[in-house]
Symmetry: D2
Subunit: 159 residues, 4 copies
């Protein structure tokens, strides 16, 4: 894994503050397990409230956790005044999301002033702790600077 | 929109039964608004439990509803004995998911015996009923026949 | 199809000049068939020099023409001083690229100051003129302003 | 990198035979540099015939080589009687394709009876041999068995 130099020395605090504001993460039971410049690991326990018709975790919920993982992996490298938004993501589903808990690992592949490209992997853990790859994500994250509307609910592109 | 001939005359009942088993849809408040062979429309009210750090609906939640929409659009055309799984999906986010409610429209572009390609669009509705495009999805859905393990939580590819 | 207002009144001339610089288009035999603000149509005759192992046009060649189509659809709406680069593209292949000629239609779905989202469709035409959908593309295009290095072969992100 | 067991002991010969039939590879100057079960490396010299408007190699040409790389990485693991077709691919462009030559590395992430998921990376090499990551691909490859029409130019999904 490439090592990156964070532009914001207090990146960890900033990621945790932003993550804490993602109500969706709390609702889904997603937590930060580890973090370093350009990479993050999230975990989630299986919750029957978020399953699909076969009893597996819904692919979209896997996408939700991986999207946050990619976004915050990028965010660790952003300057202190920048916000992060997802431009696009692609999810390939490799096995049903069957497990007791799930791990979501994301890392920055290519940082940039405006766009940062990240990759993520979702793994299912069974009771014995064995991990199995269930999904991969590739996504483009955007740094937004001086767009106060973002916090106030105004689309930056609509201005 | 292309019109398709369903192979299963009771497709609507089958879609509703399967959708009712998606606990995630109930938890997110996603409902079926309309359906026809090869197409479906889902709706969702804004729920603060599923927002991201700026107060908008989390991109992954938009992905979750669009994934179900694409999957069930494909499912309307499947034979009675086939199950549906998502192979891959790509989401492009065009505007923040800001609105009172959301509409998710998906349709089959190319049906196939094994793989069916679908496209979906997510729109935000404000209080006046005005709709704004916020995201698009393209996704590949797979028909699984004679894979009893799917219902029992066994990965079809792991066998 | 949505109608867009071009910011550059001489957009057509600018698209044609840039397209003429794409040696790859000339080599592949891709030509501009039609253009309007936010949309473009390209055509290509089948050339056995660009086929894959089954004698169909290589999927990557379809991607090449669709990428140019998406890029120039976006470019029609760009200000006069902006360059265009592809950020990402996704291609879904729906049928083998078998035909006498091919049509590539792309249109802007969501224009933006920095990023413009486009969709494209590739169709195969047989001898009778019947068109068949063979591939779809979704892609994000980026407007680059004041990045002279682009023309001189310097990566804008490497600076 | 995961090691895979090929189901076809003569996979290398089979890959080379199929690759030799891809006229597009010959036209673009793409060659096989290395191969092992589940992975392949292709190389290509810069050819001004395939550049875009800024003089870099066209993104679609990068996509073409990466698509072949992903396809043949999957093909190394296919049974002797199966053909390979690309279902979908996504390309993220991280830097302009500027270099004297290019390397395309692809590997299987998840093999399957019907679908195989692969990832690929394109690198530009300058005169000193330094490599720079310019693009990533993720793609789904499909194994087709008993579909003689593929070789004869008949769409398998059209039957």
């Amino acid at each position: 894994m490439t090592t990156f130099e964070p532009t914001n020395p207090t990146y960890e605090e900033r990621v945790r503050s932003s993550f804490a504001l993602q109500t969706a993460m709390k609702t889904l039971g997603v937590e930060i397990a580890a973090m370093q410049p350009g990479a993050i690991e999230l975990t989630m326990k299986r919750d029957p409230a978020f399953t699909q018709q076969h009893g597996f975790v819904h692919a979209g919920i896997v996408a939700t956790a991986l999207d946050s993982a990619c976004g915050y992996a990028a965010f660790t490298l952003f300057p202190a005044e920048a916000e992060v938004l997802t431009v696009e993501l692609k999810l390939n589903l490799l096995a049903p999301a069957k497990g007791d808990s799930f791990v979501f690992r994301a890392q920055v592949v290519k940082p940039g002033r405006t766009l940062t490209f990240c990759e993520g992997r979702a793994l299912a853990r069974d009771a014995s702790g064995t991990e199995k790859l269930i999904a991969t994500m590739s996504g483009t994250m955007m740094a937004l600077v001086d767009r106060p509307g973002i916090q106030q609910g105004v689309s930056p592109r609509a201005r």
